[in-house]
């Protein structure tokens, strides 16, 4: 569920644009007003603001924001202002261009989005970059990762609830065989993980656990440093428990010294209107500390204010 708080009386897009424009004018920038407006509007409302701003002032709002803001705060606001599909397109393009085996973004987006959302991302990617997502992923990855990532971003999974339990058992068996033989990159492993429907896969993972004693991810931990195994485990978690997976991404982004702002920004902006509420609940259960508290501790300035405005919901 969304964590956004929307005011009872929403100003018109014109009023919002005037407030933003005023925030940009003169010396300095009124970041507080910017946060006030953008973090309390839905995606549709934000789109309306962008169009209206362009109509009134003849400039793309995002360009103005780019000029006025800096660093992590700027990155976060710009990402937030994009519509959800554009946002995913920007994120995957960024991930592909600087792809390395430890990349987490492609798996996260390819697997946690619905089949039609992923398809919309592929279409919008083509319009923006004049190439298909698949061809860019194929051109920037190699070896086992290419074998896994190309089908993963090209998948258009069936989304019905039907489950064939005989098939789940036999495919659990196939997975077990290849995992036992450490053939993690085997075609059958990739086929099953990248083509089957999510319902079918959950049944398969359950069958795996029942028939073979361990949850499948436990058997994929042979080498904790292996990026390919990590990718496989991520795929499985994104299918079975996407909110827990995303909680971990957030938690690790604020671990120890330093903060991975990119990861933190990514999850919060992409999930604020989707399931951030559930992720917060898991965070609290897991860490006995509210997510807001962790953000306060780990970030500062306008970036912190921006994140808190998105995360902090009405009920507090």
């Amino acid at each position: 569920m969304s964590t956004l708080t929307i005011p009872h009386v929403i100003p018109s897009p014109q009023e919002d644009c005037e407030k933003l424009h005023t925030a940009f004018s003169g010396w300095g920038t009124n970041e507080g007003d910017i946060i006030e407006v953008v973090t309390h509007r839905t995606a549709d409302q934000r789109n309306a603001i962008r169009w209206t701003y362009h109509d009134i002032y003849g400039e793309d709002l995002l360009k103005s924001l780019d000029k006025e803001l800096t660093q992590d705060f700027e990155k976060a606001v710009l990402l937030w202002m994009l519509d959800p599909i554009e946002r995913d397109v920007t994120l995957v393009n960024g991930a592909v261009k600087k792809w390395a085996p430890h990349d987490r973004v492609l798996v996260e987006i390819a697997v946690t989005r619905t089949a039609n959302e992923l398809l919309a991302v592929r279409k919008a990617y083509q319009e923006k970059y004049k190439k298909s997502l698949e061809e860019d992923v194929a051109a920037h990855t190699t070896g086992d990762f290419r074998k896994l990532m190309v089908p993963l971003v090209s998948s258009y999974r069936y989304e019905g609830p039907e489950v064939d339990s005989g098939l789940a058992k036999s495919e659990a068996h196939i997975l077990r065989k290849h995992i036992k033989d450490e053939e993690y990159n085997h075609e059958e492993v990739i086929r099953i993980l990248t083509t089957r429907s999510k319902s079918q896969l959950m049944a398969t993972f359950n069958a795996y656990h029942e028939e073979h004693g361990n949850p499948i991810n436990k058997d994929l931990k042979k080498d904790p440093k292996d990026d390919f195994l990590f990718a496989l485990r991520s795929i499985i978690r994104c299918i079975t428990c996407p909110e827990r997976y995303l909680e971990k991404v957030i938690r690790l982004s604020m671990k120890n010294t330093g903060t991975d702002e990119d990861a933190l920004t990514r999850v919060i902006t992409t999930r604020a209107e989707v399931n951030l509420k559930e992720i917060k609940e898991i965070y609290y259960k897991r860490n006995t500390v509210k997510l807001e508290h962790a953000i306060k501790k780990d970030t500062k300035g306008h970036y912190e204010d921006f994140l808190l405005a998105l995360v902090d919901s009405d009920e507090e």
Binding site: E127, E134, R146, V150, S155, Y156, T195
Partner: protein, 313 residues
């Protein structure tokens, strides 16, 4: 009388030609009304289709099956004509899973339809069969060309005008290198080959094939060996009219098998509103005979009339 018998035999074509001549059959019923001995003579004259068990006359089972097929050509083409193109493509692809159609039908559909048409077919497939076409192809087809097929069917190719010419040249070179070094059996599973053929836009691939020819002095098809899947993929992407013209030609060949003959209906129905004119020209150039003449000569009845109308005679 001999003439009548001949035309009735021809009407019940069962062999040689496609479809049945419903009009002639109905006319004969009228003509031979209340003349059982005419029919009796016809049966004994029509060897290969009627036989005897002792003194009991019977139809050959084989003939009955063939007759069933020929009678249903008209029914099938009418049903397909009315059907939504997405459902058509989904059902044809589904037939491949259950082995009644050759895998080349999947190459055909994945490579000759536009990205939106292929997407529509995939959605129809999911709605009809509760599985994605990708998972079914990956699961049911376990051949050397499976990876290529899954890649082809998963594609949602860019269709805009932009082509990176330098990249196309580079990939033409890369393909040349792979072809030289890989054994022809291994070519179909080569990652680079699959990547290029299943992810690049069609415009990009046409440019790549053009560069290949300039670089190596011959079209890439000649270097792909006996690899049917690769050959068909290249042909469908680069010269679809040629591909369809050849599929039609195979259907008309002497001794063509059932799936090959079914191509005639499939090609004409699916291309009637798309590139039929180009296919007709290509067919004429390649085989020295007009498509409408081939159809007129080799098909019968309402099936024939429908085909002729569809090709825009």
């Amino acid at each position: 009388m001999a003439d009548e018998t001949l035309s009735l035999k021809k009407a019940f074509s069962g062999h040689g030609g496609f479809g049945v001549d419903e009009t002639t059959m109905a006319a004969m019923v009228t003509k031979w009304r209340k003349q059982p001995d005419q029919k009796s003579r016809f049966r004994s004259d029509f060897s290969g289709f009627f036989t005897k068990i002792g003194s009991i006359e019977k139809c050959e089972d084989d003939y009955l099956l063939r007759l069933k097929t020929e009678f249903s050509r008209f029914k099938n083409i009418m049903v397909l004509w009315l059907m939504h193109p997405w459902e058509r493509d989904a059902r044809w692809m589904h037939h491949v899973m259950h082995k009644s159609y050759p895998f080349t039908v999947i190459v055909e559909i994945a490579c000759t339809r536009t990205s939106e048409e292929l997407l529509g077919a995939k959605r129809a497939y999911q709605a009809l069969f509760n599985h994605s076409v990708e998972e079914d192809v990956a699961y049911h087809i376990k051949e050397s060309y499976s990876k290529l097929l899954v890649g082809l069917v998963s594609s949602f190719r860019y269709e805009g005008p932009q082509v990176d010419n330098d990249m196309a040249k580079w990939e033409a070179k890369a393909l040349g290198n792979v072809i030289k070094s890989a054994g022809s059996g291994k070519l179909i599973q080569n990652e680079e080959v699959i990547r290029i053929l299943t992810t690049r836009s069609k415009r990009h691939l046409k440019a790549t094939f053009k560069h290949y020819k300039e670089l190596h002095g011959k079209p890439i098809e000649e270097d792909l060996g006996a690899n049917l899947c690769l050959q068909e993929t290249v042909k469908c992407i680069d010269k679809p009219a040629k591909y369809f013209s050849e599929a039609i030609n195979i259907a008309f060949k002497e001794g063509a098998d059932k799936p090959s003959k079914l191509s005639l209906t499939r090609v004409i129905i699916s291309r009637a509103d798309v590139d039929m004119e180009e296919i007709k020209e290509t067919y004429h150039k390649q085989f020295g005979v007009k498509l409408e003449d081939m159809i007129t000569k080799n098909t019968h009845g309402h099936y024939k009339d429908t085909l002729l109308t569809l090709i825009g005679k």
